[in-house]
Point group: C2
Chain length 319, copies 2
Amino acid sequence: MRITVLAGGVGAARFLRGLKQAARDAEITVIGNTGDDITLFGLRVCPDLDTVMYTLGGGIDEEQGWGRAGETFSIRAELAAYGASPDWFTLGDRDFATHIRRSQLLAAGQPLSAVTEVLCQRWRPGVRLLPMSDEPVETHVVLADSGEQTVVHFQEWWVRMHAETPAAEIIASGAAEAVPAPGVLEAIADADVVLFPPSNPVVSIGTILAIPGIRAAVAAKTVVGVSPIIGGAPVRGMADACLTAIGVATSAAAVGAHYGSGLIDGWLVDDQDKAAADDPALAGIEVRALPLYMRDLAATTAIARAALDLAAELAPGRA
Amino acid sequence: MRITVLAGGVGAARFLRGLKQAARDAEITVIGNTGDDITLFGLRVCPDLDTVMYTLGGGIDEEQGWGRAGETFSIRAELAAYGASPDWFTLGDRDFATHIRRSQLLAAGQPLSAVTEVLCQRWRPGVRLLPMSDEPVETHVVLADSGEQTVVHFQEWWVRMHAETPAAEIIASGAAEAVPAPGVLEAIADADVVLFPPSNPVVSIGTILAIPGIRAAVAAKTVVGVSPIIGGAPVRGMADACLTAIGVATSAAAVGAHYGSGLIDGWLVDDQDKAAADDPALAGIEVRALPLYMRDLAATTAIARAALDLAAELAPGRA
């Protein structure tokens, strides 16, 4: 069985752990968001790819969900002593090594997809991890509150400003001109099922879908999504701030409707959002309610299994 | 009083500590060797500049004479886990921060001299530290013993091979086409005295002198050198292997004669090498014997003071 997953960071990584349990013999391809990549101190940082890689490879800081376990922060302190900025993006020493190695290989002319493969040779995440594109795409945020219009990198809005200043617009800069990385369209076309984990629908899955060719390829498949919104609030992060920027309500039903029946076939919502099943905005989408908090591996595995079961129901003989 | 010093790494850095004590009101300019610079993991490493900067700025590992005090080695282990090479050049986490910052500024288009100034704003070494050139010069070693002629970077010969394979030739690759960094020729021309600390005469001071214009500028000044050879052996490092490669004997007299009376005016040798004073090869060079081991700051200060005293004697009214 072939499963292809569009992935952001922490939520996707945790979902993938459950998926690996739920489908032990499946070939899983993960198409990772690179829209929140950022160049810091001259080094290329790919937070979502690394979160998936570290989580599935056993190197993640379990408590915070990102970064490396047993991390130290010498370099950060040293760079601050040199007056280097920014100081709001936390990178640990072990994590720095990943960015050093990645930047070295990129500078030597290797595309990000090949570099990611090299890094995964160490971590052996048990999935094939592909960046959505080898070309740099950076999510930028147009701030609503500023007197003059101000555009900041997504990470600055998200990490430094905690998304507290409303976004007037969120732009995947470079996405329209980018092409999917080698293997991405094939992995979607060859998949028995495409899954959307509970990632940010705007700046994670939305950015991946903005790469020309990906949305159409996904739409042609059996797609089941997992709502990142439970009871009107994001389970993690500040997805509400992103949804507001694109005029979508922070509810499981609204996010499902935002994807739409032209894109997704099945939609998993939490038990407390089961009314979504009767929401006319979700007509044409098979909605199932179940406990969606990924409290532990068992709970997460049950969610992944429910997604696969729904896919099998929607496309008998495939998934 | 203006003093300009041509400097390698550990020996020069220790000598400079004594010089700062011996000449508290002097303006000291240090012209640092960059011939053993190397690009590792995509980052530019300048071992000699950093050794001077860390030593005078209070950040050096006192025991080994290079690298940072209180160092950790997470990044090194991580890069090895990623299969990155080489593994024979030890870089600590704190030290990595320096190379990250330097590489970032170089990539942004700043010349090495400007980058060094930025780094020194943190360390405040109490001297003006200039790289010999803003252009990359790399010392390469032609190995004598190999069946086919093999050329390695100086650091590979020095650090990995411990200079055990004889060198047939030592080449300052790029030196002939390089120009002195801004301020270098002025610092020599404006100096009351130019000092050669007990640095490697071949791959440290020799490389600096190989940059077009520097040798002539130095030769026009009152120059006093400190022998790096005591009793027929280098005090530190493997200068004998370098001297052999250029056909110079490992003795205080031979090194003084190698510089020659056309370049240096005074030559400090250790008490055990006092016979050099009568060596005809040193005709035209004023030789003084004194204890030359830099055992502690007091001993080092005495050596620096002796160098300045000799310079004053050789050019009354200047030094």
